[in-house]
Subunit: 118 residues, 2 copies
Amino acid sequence: MARYCFLGHVDPANLEEYRARHAEVWPELLVALRDADWRNYSLFLRPDGLLIGYAESDDLDAAQRRVAETAVNARWQAEMARLFGTEGAPDEAWEFVPEVFNLEVQLERAGEAVLSVR
Amino acid sequence: MARYCFLGHVDPANLEEYRARHAEVWPELLVALRDADWRNYSLFLRPDGLLIGYAESDDLDAAQRRVAETAVNARWQAEMARLFGTEGAPDEAWEFVPEVFNLEVQLERAGEAVLSVR
């Protein structure tokens, strides 16, 4: 399992609509993401429109290809595209940011218990 | 448990040193973070110095107060401070970004299994 961080840009004029839509994502899309191996997927939105994604997957490229093949994802991305400040499908414009630290990985490497023993 | 995203700014002149130091964080600090209830804590670094943190905790404010009380954190922050583009202790200058979506939370709410049943 690997951890991924990626950035996008929501048009600042559309922040409220973006929040409202993402507070109630279609269950069919949630299931498609889950079955494509998107795990622990969160989105964070800064008031200027910077959108930060975090997800875990064995291979997020492969997971993204699988979800991109679903009809529900095509419908969702088409509805979301106009909320973004970028061209094309929002999920094809992610900027990935490399990981430089993970607590649990380094605890394991150091021979320490990953969970607190307090 | 809640999920948190926060931003900082590493001085672009110090990216290599920042990466090298965070590839081998002191085990004593790893344990202090774990015992303060920092969980699944990752850092991601963009080539322009934008630093993105992700962590899980029951209460990250409380977790941060606990780790800030440790001598090892004070030593670490003092060594890291000059790598950042901001004044003061880096861990006191985080900009938190609100979560707008989590896959598992919405799967549960929709009555769907959180793990794939494929």
